[in-house]
Symmetry: C2
Amino acid sequence: MNTLFRALDDPTRRQILEMLREKDLTAGEIADAFTISKPSISHHLDLLRQANLVISIKEGQFVRYSLNTTVFDEMLSWVMAFTQKKKHKKSNKNGEGREEREKRING
Amino acid sequence: MNTLFRALDDPTRRQILEMLREKDLTAGEIADAFTISKPSISHHLDLLRQANLVISIKEGQFVRYSLNTTVFDEMLSWVMAFTQKKKHKKSNKNGEGREEREKRING
DNA sequence: TTTTTAATTAGACACTTGCCTAATTATACA
DNA sequence: TGTATAATTAGGCAAGTGTCTAATTAAAAA
C-alpha cells in the first residue's frame, strides 16, 4: 500500500495513468505529452511499474506500457472500508455524545 | 486530488485514518499511539485536515478529530474509473494486435 | 492568580524527491 | 559494419517532507 500511494502522489504520474486508460503507449509517446525530459518520464514510469500500476512489454526497440487494473481493485477495497458507515462507539467513558460533552465542558 | 494523495502518502497518516475509522479521538489520544512526538502528530493531523480527510472540533481544552467520509467517496469514483474495462483502441496505425506486432518485430 | 495540561506554531536539520544533462544499452536500418 | 533511434541508468542539484526541541496559546484546576 505504501508504494502504491507513493506512486499516485504526483500529478505527472496520475496523468500518465489517465493516458494509459485510453490506450497502451510507448515510453516515447508518453514523454511527448509532457514538457519534462525523457529520462524524467522514464523515472516516473519506473515508479509506476514498481507500484504494479503499469506493465511494460518490450517490443523490439520500443517499450509499450499498459495499465495493470488489478492494483486498482485492491485500492478500491481499501477506500471502500472508509466509505462504509462507521461503527458507533463511544469515545469517552460515561457514554455521553458530542453535544452533551461540549455543553458540560463549555457551559 | 493533489492534496488528497499527498496526505495518503504516509504510513502514519494512513494509520491515523484507520484509528479514526473505529472512533473519534483527541489529538493526544492519537499521539499516544505513536512513538513520534506530539508536534509531529499535530503536523500530520494538519495535513489530513487540509486534505479534508478529517474534521476537528475543539472541545474545551481538547481537540477531537473525526473522519470526513465524503472525501473517500470522491476518491472512490476516481479509482473506479480505472477498474472498468478499458475501451479497445488500437495503439498503432495498421490495427494489428500486440501478438502480431511482436511477431513482426521479433521475427 | 498561579500552575498544570492539551495542543499548536516556529525554526532547524537530515533525508527524499523530481528535475536536469551526459553517458550507456539495445535494437533497427542503410 | 556503422549510424540512427528508443529508452534507461548515472550523477548532481534545488526544493520538499518528516522529524525533533523549544516556545507559544488556550483552557482547566488548584
